[in-house]
C-alpha cells in the first residue's frame, strides 16, 4: 500500500467507524422510541 493509499484507507476507516456508531445509536434509539410509544401511548 502506498502512503497515499494508507492515509486514504485510514480516513475511510474513520468515516466507516463513525457511520457504524451512528447506525447503532440510531437503531437503539428507534427501538427505545417504539417501546416507549407502545407503552405510553398505546396502553
Amino acid at each position: 500500500m502506498t502512503p497515499e493509499e494508507q492515509s486514504l484507507y485510514q480516513a475511510r476507516q474513520k468515516r466507516k467507524n463513525v457511520a457504524v456508531a451512528l447506525a447503532i445509536v440510531g437503531f437503539v434509539a428507534l427501538i427505545f422510541v417504539i417501546t416507549m410509544f407502545k407503552f405510553l401511548v398505546l396502553t
Binding site: 500500500m1 493509499e5 447506525a23 427501538i31 417504539i34 410509544f37 398505546l42
Partner: protein, 312 residues
C-alpha cells in the same frame, strides 16, 4: 472525490480494491432505490387499503422496515451477481463491478440492514409481518438470486413471488392478520412480474446472453417469449379486477383496472404481431405505469369512498 475513486469509476477495472473508495451514494446504490420505491409504494397501498387497526406511527416504522428489508435483499443480489453484472451494459456501473467497495463490506451491509429491518418490523407490526418479510428476503436472496435466476428460464415466474410480498406485508402490518384481499394483491404483482421482465429481457437479450443468464428470449427465442407475455397479460386482466369483486374496493378501481388491463393486453398483442423491439420497450415502460396506476387506483377508490360516506 479522491483520485483513486475517480480512477475506479473511470476504468471499472479494480475488482477487489485494497482501499475501498465507496462513498455514501455507492452504499445507497446497493439498495436498488428504484426497486425499493416500488416496494414501498405497493407496501404502503397494502397498508392504507386494509382496515387499519395498527397505529399510523407504527405503520410508518413498518414501511421503513420494509424499505430496509428490500434494500438488504437488493444489496445481497448485487454481491452475488457482481461478476455477471460486470458483463452487462445495464449493470456494469454498479459499485461492486466498478471495484468501489469490497464484496465483504457489501455483504456485511446487507446482513446488518436485513437484521435491523426484521427487528423493526417485528416491534412495529408484529411477528407475522416480520416473518413474511424474512421469508421474502430469503426468497429473493436464496431462491431467486442464487438458485432460480442462473438455472432456469422460468426464473422470473417463480422468483416474482419475492416482489409480490410487499402489499401483503403492508396489509398484515395494518391488521395483524392475512386475508384474501392481501392474497389477491400478491397475485396481481406475481402475474405482472413475468411480462414486465420478459419485455426487458427481449430488448436486453444480448446483455443477458453476455452474462449467461438463461432468460426466456435467450433459451426459447423471441416468439415464444412474446406468446408467454401475451398469455400472462391476458391472465392479468381479470386478476386485476378481482379486488372489486371481493369487495376490497368499488367502481372507481374497477374502471381503472379495466382500462389499464385492456391497454396492457393491447400492447402485449401489438408486441406479439410486431417485429419492432420498440414495442417491447413500450410494454416495459407501460408495465411500470400500470402497477403504479393500478395500486394508485386502489388508494383513490378507498379514500374517495370514505370521503363520500362521510359527506352522506
Amino acid at each position: 472525490m479522491s483520485d483513486l475513486s475517480l480512477n475506479a469509476r473511470k476504468t471499472g477495472q479494480e475488482k477487489h480494491p485494497v482501499v475501498s473508495t465507496a462513498e455514501f451514494r455507492d452504499y445507497y446504490a446497493l439498495l436498488k432505490p428504484r426497486v425499493m420505491s416500488l416496494v414501498v409504494f405497493t407496501g404502503a397501498v397494502g397498508y392504507l387499503v386494509a382496515p387499519m387497526t395498527n397505529h399510523p406511527i407504527l405503520g410508518i416504522i413498518a414501511l421503513f422496515a420494509l424499505a430496509l428489508g428490500a434494500g438488504a435483499a437488493g444489496a445481497f443480489n448485487m454481491v452475488y451477481e457482481r461478476d455477471r453484472d460486470a458483463l452487462m451494459q445495464r449493470t456494469k456501473n454498479r459499485p461492486l463491478p466498478m471495484g468501489l467497495m469490497h464484496p465483504a463490506d457489501a455483504l456485511a451491509f446487507s446482513t446488518i440492514l436485513g437484521g435491523i429491518a426484521l427487528v423493526l418490523m417485528w416491534m412495529a407490526a408484529g411477528v407475522l409481518a416480520a416473518g413474511i418479510l424474512a421469508f421474502s428476503i430469503f426468497f429473493y436472496a436464496v431462491v431467486y438470486t442464487m438458485w432460480l435466476k442462473p438455472t432456469t428460464p422460468q426464473n422470473i415466474v417463480i422468483g416474482g413471488a419475492a416482489g409480490a410480498f410487499p402489499p401483503m406485508i403492508g396489509w398484515v402490518a395494518a391488521t395483524g392478520a392475512l386475508s384474501w384481499d392481501s392474497v389477491v394483491l400478491f397475485g396481481i404483482i406475481f402475474f405482472w412480474t413475468p411480462p414486465h421482465f420478459w419485455a426487458l429481457a427481449l430488448f436486453s437479450k444480448n446483455d443477458y446472453a453476455a452474462a449467461d443468464f438463461p432468460m426466456l428470449p435467450n433459451t426459447h427465442g423471441t416468439e415464444v417469449t412474446k406468446k408467454h407475455i401475451l398469455a400472462y397479460s391476458l391472465l392479468l386482466f381479470p386478476l386485476g379486477c378481482i379486488p372489486y369483486f371481493i369487495g376490497t374496493v368499488a367502481e372507481i378501481y374497477l374502471v381503472a383496472a379495466i382500462v389499464l388491463g385492456g391497454r396492457f393486453a393491447h400492447l402485449a398483442w401489438k408486441l406479439k404481431v410486431s417485429s419492432d423491439m420498440q414495442d417491447a420497450r413500450k410494454l416495459f415502460g407501460f408495465s411500470i405505469l400500470y402497477l403504479f396506476s393500478l395500486f394508485g387506483a386502489l388508494l383513490v377508490d378507498k379514500y374517495a369512498f370514505l370521503l363520500w360516506s362521510t359527506l352522506q
